[in-house]
């Protein structure tokens, strides 16, 4: 393949097939016959946003229970069919949406779609299976309580999103999981699951028209009346000063540290400049400037990096590091100093050029596997980016100027108003 074909190898309007079914389901498809496998993934309008406080973790419980039995098949039967052909299918819940992801050999795509359809449209939530699942979820939460990284992130969200639904962990708390009844699952499914807002992407060794035909067969007849609308997100209250909190977990040899603030939404015009800025701050090379200061120069941590989580609502812009409990203060001070430098000086022309080249060059790598392409198609749909987004990507990256990065950094990061969370001894 020569380099003229380079951009054309990326998904674009010519090879992404998009169709809206009569019941509202949006199907996206792209073929790849290089391997005899196929990926099916998607999302729909149900998430932890709908969970009552006292039953937090409900949406997550529902997604975990979908494949525990349907009107047509038992838990064991479902997995037997799936695993016998080396296929996989799983559901998970986020804050706004729940999602699914599965894969199989192309010859088993009809089976995969049947199981997807049954789990989505006719789960029965058997009592016995629910109790098994509850014990598994509670064990998961007990393990989470011992995980310094999970707990630091949880405490960070509590500080940063105080009073906002984003402050709540999607997997709930032991007491809220105990509160959930079988009826809660049935009701949640009845009120929130439906074809409206369901997006499904199929990528792999199947022709797009055939993929759509198969989705129509499996899900085209699904109708639900009165599917509930998502509640309005309350406005976010920004921090008035830096707030720090230390969550004690005894007996651990390493503490996790999260330092950060609010970031943009995916649809914000600043998203690309924030993304580029973030790459320079805590990702590029060996974890950017943060990695250079905390890991390379000070030898304080094995990992120290920054990340943006821009979604439907305002996300976070945060720095994570795992450090010896005695070095927490030292590492935290170094990170805050780097954030100050970032908003005062911005980035250099060389740094910007490096990151632009990195973004443009690495794009085809992220689109190598069927799963990578499916995620890209869902990303386009969820954030309304346009089918030509990945073909325009290079131009979007190159548009960003040094002053854009600086202005964006200043808009979102105030080094005197940060959330700082630590979990460890």
């Amino acid at each position: 393949m020569n380099m003229a074909g380079y951009n054309l190898a990326l998904p674009g309007p010519g090879d992404i097939y998009r169709e809206v079914l009569s019941n509202g389901i949006i199907v996206l498809a792209r073929s790849n016959f290089n391997s005899p496998s196929v990926v099916v993934s998607g999302y729909f309008d149900a998430g932890a946003l709908f969970d009552p406080d006292e039953k937090l973790g409900l949406s997550d419980f529902v997604t975990s229970a979908l494949m525990r039995g349907t009107k047509k098949r038992s838990f064991d039967k479902i997995y037997n069919e799936l695993e016998s052909v080396g296929a996989s299918l799983g559901f998970s819940s986020g804050v706004h949406k729940s999602g699914f992801s599965g894969r199989s050999l192309a010859e088993d795509l009809p089976l995969l779609l049947n199981l997807l359809s049954e789990a989505l449209t006719m789960p029965v939530f058997p009592k016995v299976e629910m109790e098994k699942l509850r014990a598994q979820l509670l064990t998961g939460l007990a393990i989470r309580a011992q995980d310094t990284s999970d707990m630091a992130s949880m405490v960070f969200d509590e500080i940063l999103f105080k009073g906002h639904p984003y402050s709540r962990p999607e997997d709930g708390h032991p007491e809220t999981i105990q509160n959930i009844t079988r009826w809660d699952l049935v009701k949640f499914h009845r009120e929130h699951y439906g074809p409206r807002g369901l997006v499904i992407a199929l990528v792999g060794a199947v022709k797009p028209e055939e993929a759509v035909r198969q989705v129509k067969r499996a899900l085209g007849g699904w109708q639900v009346k009165g599917q509930k609308e998502a509640p309005e997100l309350p406005a976010l209250k920004s921090l008035k000063k830096t707030v720090s909190k230390h969550h004690r977990i005894t007996g651990k040899s390493q503490s996790d540290l999260v330092v950060g603030t609010n970031g943009p939404m995916r649809r914000d015009p600043e998203f690309m400049s924030a993304s580029i800025g973030n790459n320079i701050l805590g990702q590029f090379g060996m974890m950017g400037r943060i990695g250079d200061v905390v890991r390379e120069k000070s030898g304080l941590a094995y990992y120290a990096y920054s990340s943006l989580s821009a979604g439907i609502g305002p996300g976070s812009w945060e720095v994570n590091a795992g450090v010896n409990p005695q070095n927490v203060k030292k590492a935290s001070d170094l990170i805050v100093d780097e954030l100050k430098r970032f908003v005062q000086e911005g980035v250099t022309a060389d740094e910007l050029a490096d990151t632009k080249a990195n973004f443009i060059g690495r794009l085809p790598l992220s689109l190598e596997s069927n799963g990578g392409v499916a995620n890209a198609l869902l990303n386009i749909e969820r954030h309304n980016l346009g089918l030509d987004y990945y073909r325009r990507y290079e131009g979007l990256v190159n548009e960003v100027r040094q002053e854009d990065v600086l202005n964006t950094a200043r808009k979102f990061i105030d080094p005197d108003r940060l959330a700082i969370a630590v979990a460890g001894p």
């Binding site: 391997s35 296929a87 050999l105 064990t139 007996g251 000070s298 030898g299 490096d354 190598e368």
Partner: protein, 427 residues
């Protein structure tokens, strides 16, 4: 669009495998060294992994701050891994940029600096990496099991090394280890992707052939004697969750019994996924899941074999149900092990395991990095033919083979059973 494989050995001993794949304008380039924690003596444990870290600290030509940016700038993805048997480095890059990876790898095969200050700062980074692992109950348990299972063989210690050694290893130790093992004759170069073999091979020769062959590295030859009797051990630590690991001794990957055991693993615990860049599948209808998780003795169970040079371990990990005792789960596990010894498995079960393996292979072939990975990985413990004939070898497995290997390898006398139990506030 035919995928062609070329294998050759350069005059200095470097083995080269090239596979053209023209599905995307991407190339994945790997260099594998036959060095890992199996090559470490007491007092130097963790040194192979530390050398791997130092390989990112620069040569005269690619100083540290240039090196870590150069690949990223070209849109490449790169990393390195140290295992008990090997150390591997890869760069996956846009096809027209791959020359940078070749220049970098040929340079750091012999010219890494091992600067004293960099050694000092990396010491604390690696100590921090180990402290992060120590946070995990299964690391704490696994380390003690490994030490117990391998009293003589250098599989005795974890790849990360013992904390005592991480404090005392010197720059000279690191550099000696590097010079002893980073030699073309001790390495395999594997490349998959969008290139022309003839031109690529010429370029590889140009860059790598001038590197002197050096002398064959000395190897430790300390075979683990047979274990005569089950060993039970326990580790206590924070948390409220109990884990049990049961480890049986498994043959090396090149051993013919590895294949019936792989089928057995599929049946018992769901197929082990040997791909490095592609996920596995669930195991909810495996025999152990049905006997342990469905019956609420455990909340999860996993089993896994690894492809190694010398006989290693098959590990079954159970997360015990909060209302159960570890002994109850262990008894149910033993009933299932007895079943595979006493009764022949069904033909359909074997067919199922083969289909699972076929699917995992297809998923793994979706990405070029994983294809490059396999070419070198298989060379470390066997050869690329092992990978190419893997499915055929599985297909040849019979129910009789499975019963035989179950009786031979799942012996209580040669297993180690380890429990991680909550300390419940005990100091």
């Amino acid at each position: 669009m035919s995928d062609t494989l070329t294998q050759t050995t350069l005059s200095n001993g470097l083995k080269v495998l090239l596979k053209e794949i023209h599905t995307a304008p991407i190339i994945s380039s790997w260099v594998w060294y036959r060095v890992g924690s199996r090559d470490e003596v007491q007092g130097r444990t963790g040194i192979s992994h530390w050398v791997e870290h130092m390989q990112f600290k620069g040569t005269d030509h690619f100083p540290a701050n240039v090196l870590d940016k150069s690949i990223s700038r070209e849109g490449g993805s790169w990393n390195a891994f140290t295992y008990i048997d090997w150390t591997a480095y890869f760069e996956t890059m846009p096809a027209d940029k791959i020359d940078l990876a070749l220049r970098l790898e040929s340079d750091r095969m012999m010219n890494s600096r091992f600067d004293l200050n960099e050694v000092a700062s990396e010491r604390t980074v690696i100590i921090s990496e180990r402290e992060g692992s120590e946070n995990e109950p299964l690391f704490r348990l696994g380390e003690v099991i490994q030490q117990t299972a391998f009293r003589i063989h250098p599989y005795h210690h974890e790849v990360i090394g013992d904390m005592a050694d991480l404090h005392t290893i010197t720059r000279a130790d690191l550099y000696d280890h590097y010079r002893a093992f980073y030699l073309p004759g001790n390495a395999v170069m594997a490349m998959a992707g969008d290139f022309d073999t003839k031109r690529m091979l010429a370029r590889i020769k140009e860059l790598f052939e001038p590197i002197p062959a050096g002398s064959e590295p000395a190897r430790l030859a300390r075979e683990e004697p047979p274990q005569n009797g089950e060993i039970r051990l326990s580790v206590e630590g924070p948390g409220e969750t109990t884990y049990v690991q049961v480890c049986y001794r498994f043959p090396n990957a090149a051993h013919p019994d590895f294949f019936p055991l792989s089928v057995l693993d599929s049946l018992l615990a769901g197929p082990s996924n040997l791909n490095m860049f592609s996920g596995g599948i669930s195991n909810k209808t495996s025999r152990l899941y049905r006997a342990l998780v469905d019956k609420e003795l455990a909340v999860s169970v996993h089993g896994g074999a690894q492809a190694t040079i010398d006989p290693f371990l098959y590990t079954i990990t159970m997360t015990i149900h909060p209302r159960r005792k570890p002994e109850q789960a262990l008894a149910a596990l033993d009933r299932e092990i007895k079943r595979v010894k006493d009764e022949k498995v069904l033909k359909e079960e074997i067919k199922r395991a083969i289909k699972q393996a076929r699917a995992l292979f297809a998923y793994g072939s979706e990405n070029i990095t994983n294809q490059g990975f396999w070419m070198g990985y298989a060379e470390m413990f066997a050869n690329y033919n092992w990978f190419q004939t893997y499915l055929d070898k599985l297909s040849a497995v019979t129910a009789k083979d499975i019963q035989r290997v179950a009786n031979e390898y799942f012996r209580p006398q040669s297993r180690v059973v380890g429990t991680y139990a909550p300390a419940n506030g005990r100091p």
